[in-house]
Symmetry: C2
DNA sequence: CGTCTATTTGAATGTACTCAAAAGCGGTGG
DNA sequence: CCACCGCTTTTGAGTACATTCAAATAGACG
């Protein structure tokens, strides 16, 4: 366990001095997560913003009909968590669990608030982080409207080739917004080409 | 034309003193836009982040097949623009035009960069802005996957009741990710209830 | 008043879903 | 090492939600 990766990532956007790095590191709570374990649960208020050091997490939402919808896969270097719950102290609408054994850092909301008060420089880092995440999500909306399921699957394969090794097909289907049966048929068609 | 609305909005998240308010106001470029006019065009690099003072704008994306997909409607108090283009100096993938006569402020990228250098306090404002926008977009993805078109239309009506007065049906259909014909049929069903 | 565009309506079609069953795959215990 | 269990993936048939295309109607604007 080391905070050097996350610090390096932050330093790509803002430059931290020794004091700032140490303070930030002191706020991070490290945890090892076993495959299948929950990091946050729908219905419960989330106090944590989660940074993945290694492994792979999945955030998903369960609708009224009981069907799951994967919102995001998070691998090394990504932040995740139910931002709505975290930001507004509302019960989470989605759950996050580990697809593989993982190593993560938690940043408590109260600590993040203090961090931003004490070193406003971090506002910039999170501004850039959210700005980029927003761009990504808008892009996803665009593609979910204008592309067929088959196109989206091919883009997914290109974008996240490594994920396919350990993410079950049904989770990928859910991420793409289709049923596992239908994704299976898409794959069959692909191999026939 | 006055910057008081936008300043009031910013002051809900950070408190600006006289000097900061004046400097920020000095960067804003005001423009009156006629219905149908373009504020930015797909293919062109966007230099502006756009704040709507009054009226209504629409941002949309044209896919390879030539079909338009509305990404966002922006009314008074909203920021809009192709963030990807603005942030990374890439050609815009979407266009923005006025659905009604509108009044807007442009904030140039170079001015925004300077603003953030000079008064880092604004980082906080934009961090919160993007964080909230991100929450909204993720929410939209969730609903577009788990709800039927009819449900999404009803939610749209509840959320943006005023938009229906001046937004053409075909634009609403596009925003919901369905064809105008199908939305027309949904509305027929609604009135039959 | 005529033209142009937006909306409605209907019929045929397609993409993706549901339900059901079979096949594959990984782990566990005998 | 094999047999069995549970879970994932595949396959197929029937269905539903939404689309396409075409035509009729309604609205907006000069």
């Amino acid at each position: 366990m080391t905070t050097s990766n996350i610090l390096a990532q932050i330093n790509r956007h803002i430059s931290l001095d020794e004091r700032e790095s140490l303070y930030f590191s002191s706020l991070l709570i490290h945890a090892k997560i076993k495959q299948g374990d929950y990091l946050e649960t729908a219905g419960v208020i989330t106090q944590n913003f989660i940074h993945v050091e290694s492994g792979c997490l999945m955030s998903y939402y369960t609708d009224k009909g009981g069907d799951d919808h994967v919102i995001q896969f998070s691998t090394s270097g990504w932040w995740t968590g139910d931002l709505h719950s975290f930001t507004k102290n509302q019960p989470a609408v989605y759950s996050t669990r580990a697809l593989t054994d993982s190593s993560v850092f938690y940043l408590l909301k109260s600590d993040m608030d203090q961090l931003l008060e004490r070193y406003p420089k971090f506002e910039r880092y999170f501004r850039i982080l959210f700005q980029n995440a927003l761009i990504t999500q808008v892009d996803r909306i665009i593609h979910s409207f204008s592309d067929t399921a088959e196109d989206r699957y091919e883009q997914f394969q290109q974008k996240y080739p490594s994920l396919q090794q350990y993410v079950p097909l049904k989770c990928i289907a859910s991420y793409l917004g289709i049923t596992p049966e239908f994704l299976s048929k898409i794959r069959k068609r692909q191999t026939e080409k």
